[in-house]
Structures are given as C-alpha cells and as structure tokens.
C-alpha cells in the first residue's frame, strides 16, 4: 500500500515537536494552540460587537439622555454587530475554536491531517478580522447596509460607508471564506480519515457529528457568500450591473442598469440559511454531550440524533427563501419554502424531545455547564416556537419588519448558541488549562445572563406584535401608533442589555483568574467517557496521546452502566476490563434502574 506509506510519512512530519516560543505559540501547527488562537480572536471581536449593541440599546432606550451615537453610527453598528456575531464570533468559535480543539481529541488522532493548512486558516481568519476592523477607520466608516448587505443601498450614496466601508466588509468576508475553507477541509478530512482504531462513525460523540455536519454545510454554502461578495465588489468598483438596477439618485441616473437585487438576495440567503445551522448544529452536538455527561445518563436516541443532524443539514439548503417572503418573489415559492421550513421542525423537535428524555430519570448534577445546557433547551424552544410563526407566509408578512423578528433570531441563534458556548467553555476549560473555572462566579454568570437575556428578548416579542418597526434609530412622537408603554419597554430592555453585557465581565474575570488560581481539576473532573478526557496529560501535550494512540471499544455514552463499578465507562475501556463491570455486552438499550 504505497499510498498508506505516504500518509504515514506525512504523519511523522507533523509530529516534530516545536521548540521555539514562536513555533509553539504563534506560528503553531498544533490544533490545540490554533483552537485557542481562534477562540481568543473570536471572543475579542465579539466583545467589540457587544459594546456596539450596548451603544445601540442606550440610544433606543434613552434617546434624550444619551446622545452617544448619530443615526449613521446606529446603522453602522447594527451592521457590524450582526456580521461579527454571526460570522466572526459564532462560526469561528464553534468550528475554528471548538472544532479545532475537540475533533482530534475526541476522535483519537494526534492532530489535524493538514496542520500547516490549519495554521494558515487561523492567520487568514485573523486577517479577515483585521480587514473588518480596518473598516472602522476608513473614510466614511464601516458599511451601514445592515448585515444582509442588500443592494442597491449597500453601495449607493446615502448609505453610511458606501465607499471604503463596504469594500472592507466584502474583502473581509472573502478572506474569511478562504480561511474557513482551509479549516473546513481539515475538519472533515480528519473526521473521515484520522479516527483512531475502533472509533466508528457511530461511536463518535455528537459534538463531532454536529461539527462535522456544520462544516460540510459551510464548505458548500460559503461559496454563495463568496460569489455575492465578488460580484458586489465588481458592481461597486468596476461599474458592472450584476445586482445594481437602474437607479435615479441625487437628481441623476447612476451608471448601472438592469441588475437584479433579488439575485443577490437569493445568493445571500442560499448561504445565510445554512449559516444558521452552521452555528446551530455544533451547538446541538455539544449540548447533547453536556446533558449526557452531567445527567450521568446515556444520550436518548443516539442514532436518531445523528439522523436528525443530517436531516437538518440537508433540509437547511432548501429553506433559504423564507427570509424573502416580502421580497416580491413568486408567491408559489413562498408556499414551497413555508412547507420545507415547517418540515425542518420535525428533526429539530426530535432533538429537543431527546434532550428532555435524556434528563428524564437522570442523575442530574446542576453544575455550571449543565445549567447552561438546560438554559439552552428553554431558550431554543422559545426561539423555535416563534420560528413556526415566522415560517408561515401570512403571519410573516405583517411581522417581518418588526421587533418580533429581532426577538426570534436573537433567541434562536444568538442566545441559544452562546449559552452552549458558555457551557462548553465551563466544561472543557479544565482540559485546556488543568484548572476549573470558579463555580460561584459561574453560577452568578449563568443566572444573570439567563434571566437578563429573557428580560431583553421577551418584551421584544410584545413590541413586535404591537408593530414596532426594527432598524429605526429613534421612535419620535411623530410616529402615532407607537404608544408610550413601548418607550417604557425600550428603557427596560436597554437596562437589561447593559446588565447582561456587564455580567460578561464576571465571566472574563473568571477566565483570566482561574488560569492561575482555579482549583486543579485533575484529568477528568466531570467523570466523562469521551476520549478527550482520557489523555495521558492534562492539558494534552503535542501529539495528544503519548506513545500509543488510544483504541476505542464503545460509544461515548456509557453512563450508569448496570454492573459497572463506577457510573461511567470511558470509550477506551475494553470489554472484560474490571472498569467495564460484569456486563461486557454493554448496556441494554439504555434501560437502567
């Protein structure tokens, strides 16, 4: 097998230990270091977006008290906030951060299969972030076109940042797609080709399944964003008319003619909807593992969970136009896309039932990761139910321009995944640093964040039903239908938003403080079964597994196996080993007493 020999040689190359500081921590090819680099940059830029949201909320809640931002700032911040949170924070953190850290450790490999490309992926990502930030400093400031960047207004005079701002945004997105593709090729290939002995696909933890499927979605969907960015750049800079129609503005006719703004919307949402699941599927996977571990109970319906992840992944490519019900497209399309949108609720509901059934009769430990995981289930159900409203054309049309939509998507793809991110950080921090995050600070962080976000977004549904329009800088008295209690609600929402943002300081303090002062965790503080907790060193060293790769004999959910001496049996415990107990065949369909 000549080919295998070549692959083996490459593997040896990858294992040369880095010696200098720069090779170890800066130009590192180690997946764990790259994961941390990704995570730190993502959290850093996410904080910028968080500050922007606070500034926006202060404007909306107290327009007469705070005059920190002008109308054009408001649109620029709305755009940057949305784009950063969706792409540069959540996508990068789930796939570049957790994907990088967890895939090789959970699959029992030494590293990603293409470590050099993995390193490049991070540096391209950093470049994308820097170009995005550059947009804040160019003449005219960043683009204020809204995160969907719809033409014609995205590049038309009158929109903030229609000059260099939009160019920075488009260039940054293009670079991000390149970075993601390099990373994504690594994640998928590693999962398919570099699993350790015994790690069949159906023994992989659901975190890996979620990250895998999300990466496949990303690899196929991000090209749509790339295509739309390239074509819009040409419309902007070279005067082509892919998207730009004939427009009269500023008393004159623009050079453009005949372009199709609707074409952009199709391309954008062909990326944009799978993007929702690029963020959601890793969260689904990770939360499954958190629930199972902290409820000491095997995940309910593992096979069904895998199927549901795959079904959601496939369906996510045929629902994109439900973002376009009010775009003037053919009404029959609306019927089709409403149907597919409701169908996708089926596998999603299966997952929610299975999470709840995993908890049922479980030995629930209300640890901080578990609190966040349960918080996720609540929030995701809330956000999912409002999705049923908005998925129907007739209900969506009156609601689509209102705060109901803002509340819906923040619940379902803002708060829900970020709760999982927090839970996952509390869960895996001990593996990354060897120390636990402070429990009391963690509980404060959870309850303030959880209750705080509900006090932000629940009233927003109400505002939406009242018809309060989104994207407004201020609601002056001239708008008759805006009643005074809307203003009170807006004040409440803004105070809650500042409170939630401030709460994150507790989390940041905990992250920094616990590196040195946290309680030592030992190798497996949560008594977990999956492979990353079975490494010979904590934190794992370069190459992860010491001399020999692990061998896997069982799935990742052997908790409370009848007859086993402890309430968990790690994946690498062979049948017949005392730790596996007297039941070598494993559990019997998950029934335990």
């Amino acid at each position: 097998m000549a080919f295998v020999a070549i692959a083996d040689r490459d593997h040896e190359h990858a294992l040369h230990d880095p010696e200098t500081f720069i090779r170890k921590y800066i130009w590192s090819q180690d997946h764990k270091v790259i994961a941390i680099q990704y995570a730190l940059v993502a959290i850093g830029i996410g904080l910028v977006a968080l500050v922007m949201s606070v500034l926006m909320r202060l404007q909306l809640g107290f327009p007469d008290t705070f005059s920190l931002i002008a109308p054009h700032d408001y649109y620029q911040y709305i755009t940057m906030h949305g784009m950063i949170m969706v792409i540069y924070l959540l996508t990068a953190l789930f796939l570049g951060g957790f994907g990088n850290y967890l895939i090789p450790l959970m699959c029992g490999s030494r590293d990603m299969v293409f470590p050099y490309m993995n390193m490049l992926s991070f540096w391209f990502y950093l470049l994308a972030v820097l170009v995005l930030v550059l947009g804040l400093f160019v003449p005219g400031g960043p683009t204020g076109a809204g995160w969907t960047l719809y033409p014609p207004q995205a590049i038309a005079p009158g929109t903030p940042g229609h000059g260099w701002g939009i160019i920075c945004m488009l260039a940054s997105l293009g670079i991000f797609v390149v970075a993601f593709t390099m990373g994504g090729l690594n994640y998928v290939t590693t999962i398919l080709q570099a699993r350790c002995k015994g790690m069949t696909l159906m023994r992989m933890p659901l975190s890996v399944w979620g990250i895998f499927t999300a990466t496949v979605l990303g690899l196929l969907a991000f090209p749509a964003l790339f295509v739309s960015c390239v074509m819009m750049t040409l419309d902007h800079s070279l005067g082509t008319s892919f998207f730009m129609p004939a427009v009269a503005q500023m008393g004159g006719q623009t050079v453009h003619s005949g372009g199709s703004p609707l074409l952009f919307q199709h391309l954008f949402w062909f990326f944009g909807h799978p993007e929702v699941y690029i963020v959601a599927l890793p969260a689904f996977g990770i939360v499954s593992d958190l629930l199972s571990t902290h409820a000491r109970r095997n995940i309910f319906g593992y096979r069904m969970m895998v199927w549901a992840i795959l079904a959601i992944g496939c369906l996510s490519f045929v629902v994109w136009a439900h973002h376009m019900y009010v775009s003037g497209m053919n009404p029959y399309f609306g019927f089709f896309f409403a149907t597919t949108t409701l169908i996708i609720a089926v596998p999603t509901a299966i997952k929610v039932y299975n999470w709840v059934l995993t908890l049922w009769k479980g030995d629930i430990h209300l640890t901080v990761p578990m609190l966040f995981a349960i918080g996720f289930i609540f929030t995701f159900i809330n956000g999912g139910l409002t999705g049923l409203f908005l998925g129907n054309v007739t209900v969506d049309v009156p609601l689509s321009g209102t705060y109901f939509v803002v509340a819906h998507f923040h619940m379902v793809m803002g708060v829900s995944p970020i709760l999982v991110v927090f839970g996952a950080i509390y869960h895996w921090y001990p593996k990354i640093t060897g120390r636990l995050l402070d429990d009391r600070l963690g509980r404060i962080h959870f309850w303030c964040t959880f209750i705080g976000t509900y006090s932000i977004y629940l009233p927003m549904h109400y505002l939406g039903i009242l018809g309060v329009p989104r994207r407004y800088y201020a609601y002056s008295d001239a708008i008759d239908f805006i009643s005074s209690n809307v203003h009170v609600a807006n004040e409440w929402i803004s105070i809650s938003a500042v409170f939630v943002a401030a709460t994150q300081l507790v989390f940041l303090f905990n992250l920094a403080w616990s590196i040195k002062a946290g309680r030592p965790s030992g190798p497996n503080p949560w008594r977990s079964t999956s492979l990353e907790w079975q490494t010979p060193d904590t934190p794992p060293k370069h190459g992860n597994w010491g001399k020999d790769l692990p061998v896997v004999y069982r799935w990742a959910y052997d908790y409370n196996v009848p007859g086993a001496p402890e309430d968990f049996v790690p994946q690498n415990v062979p049948p017949g080993d005392p730790r596996a107990g007297n039941s070598p065949e494993g559990r019997d369909h998950g029934v335990h007493h």
Binding site: F3, A7, L185, Q193, P575, G586
Partner: protein, 227 residues
C-alpha cells in the same frame, strides 16, 4: 439557482447514502470488538480525500456562478428576460484554448500513468508539458480578454461581458493555484534520490485536479456559447 439546488440534492443524497446508511444501523450502545468494517478497509490517503472535498467546494462555487448567470440572463417573472444583456460573440481563440487545456489534461494523465509504472523521469516530462500547455491556455485566455476588450460588445454594463471576464478569471485563478502545486511537485521530482513514493500521490492529485478544471472549463464554455 435550480441547477445548484439539484446539485446539492444529488451530492448530499449520494454522500448520505454511500457513507452513512450502511453504518447507521450500528447499535453503538453495545460495547463491541475493536475491528469494525470501516476500519478494516484500506483508507484513502488524507490528501486525496481533502482534494475531493475541495472539488466539491469548487463545484458549489461554479454551480452558484452559473446559477447567477442564468438568473441574471432570464430576469424575473414580472419583467421577463433581461433587456441589457447583449450576447457576446465569443472570440474564436477560445476554441484553441480549449484544445490546449484538453492536451494539458492528456499530458497530466500520461504523467500519472508513468509514475504509476515507476517511471519518474517520464512522469516529469508529462507533468512539465501539461503545465506548459496550461500556461499557454492562460496566455490564450488573456488574449481573448484583449479581443473582447477591443470589440464592439465591450461595456462593463453588459452582463454578458462582465460574466465572461468573471468566469474566465475565477477559472484561471484556480488553474494558477494548481500550477503552484505543479511547480512544487516538479521541484520535488528534480531532487536527487527521489523515489516514486515521494511524488506518486502528488502527480495523481495534480491529474485529478486538471481533469476537473477541464470539465469546469468545458461547462463554462458551453454555457457561454449557448447564450
């Protein structure tokens, strides 16, 4: 867009069917022996898998470009076909370029055949010729650009012209990326003590990539000729 949807449906359908269905019956909650079906099979090297996944990404990219091409051409239901689309007379040199790229692909295939037979020197020749023909193709594309630039059709406002430049440029950039790997492979083949095992996979993957980009070009050329 419908083309792309069809592609995704097909691609995901095949992937799900081939890779997963036969494995999804595993009762993974039952602890079992180590050896299982998929781990006993000889595995493809990671680089080959990576390339094929990358080809799927490129297919998605060009599929979306072509979808955009047709959607822009046909306009939307109320307004009918786009009125500003002035069909382009594709420069005849594109036919010659197509022949060059076909020849490059043939040379790459010959290089692959040689290296599989253990003949590194022969493979080097094939690879070199393939790359040079590709450079000639790219030169020909630049010449075609100049011809269109000086033709009566030229205007950035004409979407036919804009798509012509865009599609040829994106395809050409992919070839340039291939030429980078080609250069590295050639350099490796010139080293002393080179063994077949060191270059065999690279040559094979180069040939696959070239065949694929030839197919992409044939598809793009057909789309442009037919409209």
């Amino acid at each position: 867009m419908s083309l792309t949807v069809a592609y995704f449906a097909l691609a995901t359908g095949i992937v799900v069917w081939l890779i997963l269905v036969r494995k999804l019956s595993a009762r993974s909650w039952e602890a079992g022996p180590v050896a299982t079906v998929d781990l006993d099979e000889p595995r493809w090297p990671a680089k080959r898998v990576g390339l094929w996944i990358f080809l799927a990404v490129i297919t998605s990219l060009f599929g979306l470009f072509v979808s955009a091409y047709y959607m822009r051409l046909n306009g939307h239901h109320e307004s009918g076909p786009a009125t500003d689309w002035v069909a382009l007379n594709e420069p005849p040199v594109l036919w010659l370029n197509t022949l060059l790229l076909i020849a490059a692909s043939v040379a790459m295939q010959a290089a692959r055949k040689s290296v599989q037979g253990g003949n590194v020197a022969g493979s080097f020749k094939g690879l070199l010729v393939g790359g040079l023909l590709t450079l000639a193709f790219l030169g020909g594309q630049l010449y075609a650009w100049a011809l269109v630039r000086n033709s009566e059709f030229f205007s950035p406002l004409n979407p036919a012209v804009a798509f012509f430049y865009l599609l040829t440029a994106v395809h050409g950039l992919h070839l340039l990326g291939g030429l980078y790997v080609w250069g590295r492979t050639l350099a490796r083949m010139r080293r002393e003590n080179v063994e077949v095992i060191d270059v065999r996979l690279s040559v094979e993957l180069c040939s696959v990539y070239w065949h694929f980009l030839l197919l992409v070009w044939l598809g793009l050329f057909a789309v442009m000729l037919s409209t």
